[in-house]
């Protein structure tokens, strides 16, 4: 049995082993091995010039990585938590994302920014943000989020190999998820979504922490006679329009699952793209099941916020299978 945490750790080990330009640095990644132990043992095995702690300053960490990448290294930096990465946002948006473009390809930044993200682990505030939309909305960044142990290993290695900067979002609640595979290997490249469960009646599109929830919902829906296809995006950027559109054209129905607040989120982007590409195949509106448009709740209330099986099943009920119109939005603007 291999956990996602172990798969990520193994990917870092293999990358450090395979290329001396690869460096791992950030807060508490050295002796401690990171607060989630993803870098466990790396400093001991590869030396503290390959895996090292930095001053506690996220903008500095990312900016320093930019300079080191310009100097020929391939930095893999860790932001301790999603919300702690915000001080680095200027570096990410103004430099990491743009350097290749503003120098007309003369300066590449092959660096990876690892960010444990999203909720569901009982974390107190500022530890549970789903920040993917900020990065996905910034051209020049690749945005990756694994949902399986196999992909965690493969996608992280690919991120480190990639000539572009990658924001690598690790779903915290899946760190301890397990797979019974015997050895880790490369899976599919960036830009290819995976069909995690084939089905005929409706397509559920999810990524990262939403994928296991979608699969569980598909299991429950089968009992109600729905045969759901579940797609795991794997990489938000680049986005696999082809796989998503092909599935929805076949099933005619689509539900998008995302843990982040729904408004102006990645879920909204997916829904829009599906409608643009599949309008004539759609038998019902594309629905989203997302977190509410609220700051991430205190841990004792987070279960009310997170998309769960019931909410996905409720959405299926609104997919007009019996040709009954969806009445939820009859009062436009919400006036009673």
């Amino acid at each position: 049995m291999i956990t996602m945490a172990k798969a990520l750790n193994t990917a870092l080990q293999d990358a450090l082993d395979g290329d001396e330009r690869v460096l791992v640095f950030g807060e508490d990644v050295g002796a401690l091995g990171g607060v989630f132990r993803i870098t466990d043992g790396l400093a001991a095995k590869f030396g503290d010039d390959r895996c090292f702690d930095t001053p506690l300053a996220e903008s500095g960490i990312v900016g320093f990585a930019v300079g080191m990448a310009m100097g020929g290294f391939r930095p893999v930096v860790e932001m301790q938590f999603d919300a702690f990465a915000y001080p680095a946002f200027e570096q990410i948006a103004s430099h990491v994302a743009k350097m290749r473009n503003r120098t007309r390809g003369r300066v590449e930044l092959p660096l990876v920014i690892r960010i444990p993200y999203a909720g569901g682990i009982g974390g107190v505030e500022h530890h549970c943000d789903s920040s993917e939309a900020y990065y996905a909305h910034t051209p020049g960044l690749k945005v990756v989020t694994p949902a399986t142990v196999e992909d965690a290993y493969s996608l992280l290695l690919e991120a480190i190999d990639d000539p572009d900067p990658v924001v690598f979002l690790e779903p915290k609640k899946l760190y301890w998820s397990k797979s019974d595979i015997e050895r880790l290997d490369r899976t599919e490249p960036f830009g290819r979504a995976a069909v995690r469960r084939p089905g005929a009646d409706a397509t559920v599109v999810a990524y990262g922490p939403g994928v296991p929830v979608a699969l569980e919902a598909a299991g429950a829906a089968a009992a109600e006679g729905w045969d759901l296809e579940v797609i795991d995006l794997r990489t938000i950027v680049p986005f696999d329009d082809a796989t998503v559109a092909a599935s929805v054209r076949r099933t005619g129905r689509c539900v998008v699952v995302a843990e982040a607040a729904g408004f102006a989120g990645v879920g909204a982007e997916i829904a829009a793209r599906v409608q643009e590409r599949c309008f004539h195949s759609l038998l019902a509106p594309v629905l989203r099941v997302t977190g509410f448009d609220i700051p991430y709740p205190p841990p004792m209330l987070e279960q009310h916020h997170l998309p769960d099986v019931d909410r996905i099943l409720d959405a299926l009920d609104r997919l007009q299978r019996d040709d009954r119109p969806d009445t939820r939005y009859l009062n436009i603007g919400g006036a009673a």
Partner: protein
């Protein structure tokens, strides 16, 4: 105070070798006088740089540049930051470092691409070991720290020099850069050109510190302050700073006191926040006049030299004028290049969309 603390602190007064009129200053410093050849190169580069700056300002008035931030009056720092570096060293400039970039040998038209608006960075940073001109303040200082550390790791003996202004010392990245460079002993020189104003905001609104150079001590960074309009002092201190960094002693912070005689950019109105009398006072500390007087008195600069340098400056300005008066080649479909190493399918679709629009309009793609 411990000896170590004292060793880090800047001098009690800014280091100067020259009086305002260019005579030798009486107070002695511990810094070596730069060699005559370097001083002559600096003089020549300042003459050329000032002519370039005037030409760029004129081109802006003619609508050839979208905006131009002049460094008129700051030539000693501009030229000094370029001349103290070897070709393999890295310079991290801001948008005001045009004259430094010209001094570094970058084609003046390529230097002005950003400000003309045809490209975000007209030159090849790898070829010139010069980062793109940086607009978000102090953000490039952490890059410089990282790059300097990379050079140290590789054992190349190369250093990085980053330019920032007085306003940028209030930004978090300035402090993070000092801290990272110090902790990792990165061979980095941080040059603060304190030109007294961050657009309109005077220095006393940026800091209550005794000087900007004093900000180094909190990070364990060796610091110095210098008369930024004294080219001899600027070259002496920056050379020492580069040597300090190259020798493996970690970063070195230099605050240079100077003044931008022009507004922040052509779009700014300096009369709203400072007096003509103040600017006039700084005109009497003109770096070119001071170095000219110094070199002439020692017989290191002749009328013939000045004629040669002025002719060279005029030639550069004429060439710049001619080339900038030609419309730049624009390739709209190139907008989709270099967003990623390999374009995404979505970018390919968008490129096709723009391509069709251009065909309809009859615009070259």
């Amino acid at each position: 105070m411990t000896g170590r603390t004292e060793a880090l602190l800047p001098s009690a007064e800014p280091v100067r070798f020259l009086t305002d009129s260019g005579a030798a200053a009486r107070k002695r410093t511990n810094y070596a006088v730069p060699d005559t050849e370097l001083l002559r190169r600096a003089y020549r580069a300042m003459v050329v740089g000032r002519r370039f700056d005037a030409q760029a300002t004129a081109l802006t008035k003619q609508g050839r540049l979208a905006v131009y931030p002049s460094s008129h009056g700051q030539e000693a720092c501009q030229v000094g930051s370029a001349l103290v570096l070897d070709d393999g060293d890295w310079l991290f400039p801001t948008y005001r470092e045009s004259v430094a970039l010209v001094t570094r040998g970058i084609d003046p038209v390529e230097v002005l691409s950003l400000l003309r608006g045809d490209s975000h960075c007209g030159y090849d940073p790898q070829r010139h070991h010069t980062a793109p001109q940086c607009t978000p303040l102090a953000t490039q200082a952490v890059h410089a720290a990282g790059l300097a550390y990379a050079e140290r790791r590789k054992g190349t003996g190369r250093v990085a020099l980053v330019c920032v202004g007085d306003g940028a010392t209030s930004e978090g990245d300035f402090h993070e850069a000092l801290n990272f460079a110090a902790v990792f002993k990165a061979p980095l020189v941080i040059l603060v050109q304190n030109n007294q104003y961050a657009i309109s905001v005077p220095l006393e609104r940026q800091t209550a510190a005794p000087s900007l150079a004093h900000k180094g001590i909190g990070y364990g960074v060796r610091s110095e302050r210098v008369d930024g309009n004294d080219p001899v002092a600027v070259l002496a201190v920056l050379s020492a700073a580069v040597e300090h960094a190259r020798a493996g002693n970690g970063p070195f912070l230099v605050e240079a006191h100077t003044y931008r005689l022009e507004p922040h950019t052509n779009a700014d109105d300096a009369s709203r926040y400072r007096t003509d009398a103040e600017a006039e006072e700084w005109r009497h500390r003109d770096p070119i006049a001071r170095l000219e007087s110094y070199l002439r008195r020692r017989g290191h600069l002749t009328d013939a030299d000045i004629t040669t340098f002025t002719a060279e400056a005029d030639k550069l300005a004429e060439d710049l004028r001619t080339r900038m008066n030609a419309d730049p080649h624009l390739a709209p479909l190139g907008l989709f290049d270099h967003v990623y190493g390999t374009p995404t399918p979505q970018l390919d679709e968008q490129r096709a969309l723009l391509s069709a629009e251009l065909r309809t309009e009859g615009t070259p793609s």
